[in-house]
């Protein structure tokens, strides 16, 4: 700490980026992009809007759902930039953008049980090569997958999901990339942050180093490459939608 404060005016770690557009400027065509959020809670809508404007195409998207109404992830799908989506629950009352693309055969769906999705993301971030899970054993979603009997129980072999980019939303962050989240908007943020080569976090507030209590930092800055402060429109949850 002392050494760092001494060279105050020299180059310092500063992951803060001025705008959402600058944060996503170098996303390549064909990239795998993880997008945080469970429904609209924790969805980084402004970063998604910036990605739409940036124009990268042929993307593989990883998210729990497949978009709600016409904004955020649904808008990205509508712009026809997404080749494939990996998710657990695409069908919702307001997922009509995805539904239409799916029925037209214009998007590929990899359906993954939600816990396997979370663990595959976690495994990627933790350097795990593959893991055996009981979830999905014997079902359509484990078809063709390697299985093993361990201590009298059957398991399915699942592989990690790595990403080129993760777009997540947190509550507060600092210039080193440390993050805290807000309530159930945390959901996939921490694990996606660890699983991508470049994690971009939009936060409601950037604070000074040391302001975040180190005992409660949820995502340590090592997992975050860029931070952008965006106030974010508070969107009301959709009451009729299902998980």
């Amino acid at each position: 700490m002392l050494a760092l404060t001494k060279r105050k005016n020299e180059a310092m770690i500063n992951k803060i980026v001025a705008s959402a557009a600058a944060a996503v400027a170098d996303v390549l065509d064909g990239a795998t992009v993880m997008i945080g959020g469970f429904g609209t809670a924790g969805m980084p809508s402004e970063l998604i809007d910036a990605l739409i404007a940036q124009g990268a195409r042929d993307l593989t998207i990883v998210n729990n759902n497949a978009g709600n109404a016409d904004t955020g992830l649904a808008a990205l799908l509508k712009s026809r930039r997404v080749r494939k989506i990996i998710c657990s629950f695409p069908r919702q009352t307001d997922s009509y953008v995805f539904d239409a693309l799916y029925h037209a055969g214009e998007i590929e769906l990899e359906l993954v049980p939600q816990g396997n999705l979370a663990e595959r993301i976690r495994a990627a971030g933790a350097g795990i090569g593959a893991f055996f899970t009981p979830t999905g054993y014997g079902t359509l979603l484990a078809k063709g997958k390697e299985t093993r009997l361990i201590d009298g129980r059957y398991y399915v072999l699942e592989y990690p999901i790595h990403a080129d980019v993760a777009l997540i939303k947190a509550h507060r962050g600092d210039r080193w990339g440390n993050l805290v989240y807000r309530k159930t908007a945390r959901n996939f943020g921490p694990i996606m942050a660890s699983a991508a080569k470049c994690t971009i976090a939009q936060v409601r507030e950037v604070v000074e180093l040391g302001e975040l209590d180190p005992e409660v930092i949820v995502t340590p800055g090592i997992f975050v490459q860029r931070i952008v402060q965006l106030l974010g429109a508070a969107m009301l949850a959709q009451p009729q939608a299902t998980a």
């Binding site: 809670a41 359906l111 396997n116 979830t135 359509l140 989240y181 159930t184 949820v218 949850a237 009451p239």
Partner: protein, 218 residues
């Protein structure tokens, strides 16, 4: 024929959940169980999207888009509740830490196989969410469903014709006609709706049942 109402079914499930239990209530009918849990009993509700100690729905003015349940409806957090990320949430489920989960179902088989995620119909968009993780993970898997389909077929069947969620996972079935335990010796009826004879329930169900009712209405 008399049937248990949705609230009566929910009340019966609530009655069977003890003090101190960690419980996940699935979307739909199981959500009603929360309304019937006695206020003086400490029961911790888990929601897959990262909260433990879920409280009731807030007033409209107190809704927070960052605080929702698995059905994406606004909820509250009780004092002592906690937030956590998705990998931890599913560790609680898959790792056997939940005492009970209550799920809706299309079908349950004689040996407790559960079908509740996909009709398998051509053109239907499949969606699984956390159903498979809950079904394999909770210590006790309770199912709430109507006893029969609209066409009058038993939803308790020799084997599931819908795509299976998990095999041999269901421990108890609450229907609008009966409460039935799934045991290694087959299906055991614990309670039947007033006015329905066991033989008639057996006829409507189509797979062998054992009568363990005490003759007292549920």
């Amino acid at each position: 024929m008399q049937r248990f109402s949705r609230d009566q079914m929910a009340a019966r499930v609530a009655r069977d959940i003890p003090e101190g239990a960690y419980v996940n209530l699935g979307i739909g009918l199981p959500t009603l169980v929360a309304n019937h849990l006695p206020r003086d009993r400490e029961i911790l509700l888990h929601s897959e999207n990262g909260l433990l100690g879920m409280g009731p729905a807030p007033a409209l003015s107190a809704q927070d888009p960052d605080l929702i349940n698995a059905g994406k409806q606004p909820v509250t957090l009780l004092s002592g509740g906690a937030y956590f990320h998705h990998a931890d949430s599913f560790a609680m489920m898959r790792g056997g830490h939940l005492d009970f989960c209550v799920l809706g179902a299309f079908q349950v088989s004689l040996r407790g196989d559960l079908a509740n995620w996909h009709t398998g119909a051509a053109g239907a968009i499949p969606a699984v969410g956390g159903a498979m993780d809950l079904a394999i993970g909770a210590k006790n898997v309770y199912v709430m469903m109507e006893h029969q389909t609209k066409a009058g077929e038993s939803k308790i069947a020799a084997r599931c014709t819908y795509p299976v969620t998990a095999f041999q996972c269901v421990s108890r079935i609450y229907t609008d006609l009966a409460v039935i335990d799934v045991t290694s010796h087959g299906l055991v009826v614990l309670a039947i709706v007033d006015g329905l004879a066991f033989d008639e329930l057996q006829r409507l169900t189509g797979v062998p049942l054992t009568n363990a009712t005490t003759g007292v209405a549920a």
